[in-house]
């Protein structure tokens, strides 16, 4: 009898647990679709016939597949130049941030440095306050960093968050490693380049990923500092296209005007240009992200332990 009750109870519980489980699967399935579908929607529209995509009838699968949008993307006004700027700032900016973070993370772990704590705090404090964008803009202007490519790079070089990450990592390495090198007569720079860098490579990879995504996505600094169209990165060019499209569609009567614009299946339309640029800008992140996810997660964890 009692065994029966226990059995019944167990079955009852597992029913409740099953319900929890089913609801979880459904809810998270929906979450995944909500996060993925917008990208998929954009993609199928860029490879579909342009007259269909600008009428908005491509919803679930591509129709009239062609790759003309991508092959003619290079011809879009200013896009090639923008891609060059985006790439340059991502490469140079990442290099700068990674080297500076590694070097400073290492140096700030040196107890012997003159007033080390003061300098370290001076750097870390900048995480918590901000003069505001306008004073920053005026200062950049005084230093002739407006309309200047280096205005994208220099302010990003010293990044307190990444220094904290590296310093925490360096401190987890046994002190003996450095002491042994010191006994062998190595100077501080030799120790950094020959001994430290090989050991802290994992955290440098993490910082590199963060910095690269930041640089690739940066938009606000262009908005504030740059009026020279030659220096616009992809993000900004995309924003301009969006802005035009948005004001056009606000003029209403859009369905007729857009069908007028869409003459043939492979002629570029406002919609196709907009979507193609979006996919081009998203693609590097989509490709890089799944492989490097563990680095991102590691980064946020180390940062959370010691802020």
């Amino acid at each position: 009898m009692s065994r029966e009750i226990a059995l019944k109870k167990r079955r009852h519980e597992s029913f409740g647990d099953q319900m929890v489980s089913i609801v979880c699967y459904i809810v998270f399935g929906i979450c995944a679709v909500l996060c993925l579908y917008p990208f998929y929607y954009m993609f199928i529209n860029t490879i579909s016939a342009n007259d269909l995509s600008s009428r908005g009838v491509i919803l679930f699968w591509p129709q009239g597949v062609h790759l003309k949008n991508y092959s003619s993307a290079l011809g879009i006004d200013g896009l090639f130049q923008a891609a060059k700027i985006s790439l340059m700032r991502t490469i140079l900016g990442t290099f700068g941030t990674v080297s500076a973070s590694a070097f400073l993370g290492f140096m700030f772990s040196q107890d012997k440095m003159w007033h080390r704590k003061v300098w370290y705090r001076l750097v870390i404090a900048t995480m918590y306050f901000n003069a505001g964008i306008i004073p920053w803009f005026l200062v950049m202007k005084n230093m002739h960093l407006t309309n200047n490519f280096w205005g994208y790079i220099l302010p990003m070089v010293v990044s307190p968050f990444h220094i904290v990450l590296t310093k925490t990592f360096v401190e987890s390495i046994p002190k003996e490693l450095q002491e042994a090198a010191e006994i062998d007569g190595a100077g501080i720079l030799t120790i950094f380049f020959k001994v430290m860098i090989p050991v802290i490579k994992p955290i440098m990879a993490t910082v590199a990923i963060f910095a690269a995504v930041n640089q690739w996505n940066a938009f606000q600094d262009t908005l504030l500092l740059v009026t020279d169209t030659k220096l616009y990165p992809l993000q900004f060019v995309l924003y301009q296209y969006l802005n035009q499209a948005s004001s056009l569609s606000a003029l209403a009567n859009t369905s007729s005007s857009s069908s007028l614009a869409a003459a043939a299946a492979t002629t570029q339309t406002a919609t196709s240009i907009r979507m193609t640029i979006t996919i081009i800008v998203v693609l590097p992140i989509m490709c890089v992200y799944p492989f490097f996810q563990k680095y991102f997660v590691k980064g946020i964890m180390v940062g959370a332990v010691k802020g």
Binding site: I134, V158, Y239, A245, T271, Y289, V297
Partner: protein, 306 residues
């Protein structure tokens, strides 16, 4: 002996000299702008150099509230900021819930997939988010096409050019972008909970919901609390990028948060000094909030997060 001390001293200074160039960068880009707060007390008009500007005292601070039009504009901006930050703060338990229930999924590949997919939006810029939003919600976008086909609406609805539900939709976009990433911190915290607790609870016949209620959530509360305090410190700083890309003539009244207003004041209408005055007030209040939150944290939990 003396020379040994000198050598030591010289070594420690040498170490400092190596980091000096970087300290100069920090001073230039993070501390020197603080000097720009002076603009708030001068009558600065950009083409003319700052040295010729006239000292005007608190004129610009007073001008923020000098007539009813400006007062009502400022109040609207503050309302937008407070409501949007308020919604974010009020729903800051969502990532925790997300992590807790994601952890209940036993099928590991599915869990990994959901985690990867939902964190992806965090790594695309607001411009791209806006581009996706625009494609889905413009008059020929997916949503309008679908609703027209289903016969729910007769005319395309201009979702993004509407002044209705701006706060809610902005919160939805923010959540879409951040939820998965914010949950990662909690997911890691869950994996560090001692498994014996769950085993013991299972032996005692606890259901999943009971285990969540009595084990998982209590062990996540410290993390939740720290993040909540940090959110309070950022109450006035929603950032401007999101609102800047989504703003247009129709939703401007409701989307203009403090950060965006500061930008629009300076770049839109050229009132640099007023804008600096406002952002200065904002920074001071923010620092007070941060220190206050830290003090609360110290008092209630005996731990500071700064």
């Amino acid at each position: 002996m003396l020379s040994k001390i000198d050598k030591k001293k010289w070594y420690s200074i040498k170490l400092f000299l190596y980091v000096l160039p970087f300290l100069v960068l920090v001073l230039l880009f993070s501390y020197y702008p603080l000097y720009g707060w002076l603009y708030a007390f001068y009558d600065y008009r950009p083409p003319r150099p700052f040295s010729e500007a006239e000292f005007v005292g608190l004129k610009w601070f007073k001008s923020l509230v000098e007539n009813p039009v400006k007062i009502s504009q400022l109040l609207q901006v503050l309302k937008n900021t407070f409501v949007m930050s308020g919604i974010t703060l009020g729903t800051s338990w969502l990532p925790m819930l997300f992590a807790v229930f994601l952890n209940e999924i036993r099928c590991i590949p599915f869990r990994k997939f959901v985690q990867t997919v939902t964190t992806l939006p965090n790594f695309i810029s607001w411009v791209l988010v806006y581009s996706l939003a625009f494609s889905l919600f413009n008059s020929t976008g997916m949503v309008n096409t679908l609703l027209l086909n289903l016969g729910v609406i007769k005319e395309p609805v201009l979702f993004l050019q509407s002044s209705e539900h701006v706060w809610l939709t902005q919160w939805l976009w923010l959540t879409w972008k951040n939820l998965g990433w914010a949950a990662i911190m909690y997911i890691a915290a869950i994996s560090s909970i001692d498994d014996e607790l769950f085993q013991a609870a299972k032996v005692d016949g606890a259901t999943r919901m009971q285990m969540i209620r009595y084990i998982t959530i209590p062990s996540l509360l410290p993390t939740f609390f720290v993040l909540l305090m940090m959110n309070i410190g950022n109450f006035l700083s929603n950032g401007m990028e999101q609102y800047y890309v989504f703003q247009n003539a129709f939703n401007k009244d409701y989307i203009q948060v403090l950060d965006l207003y500061v930008y629009n004041l300076a770049m839109g209408s050229g009132s640099y000094s007023v804008s600096v005055a406002l952002s200065m007030l904002k920074s001071v209040v923010s620092v007070i909030l941060l220190i206050g939150a830290n003090a609360v944290s110290k008092m209630t939990r005996g731990e500071s997060f700064l």
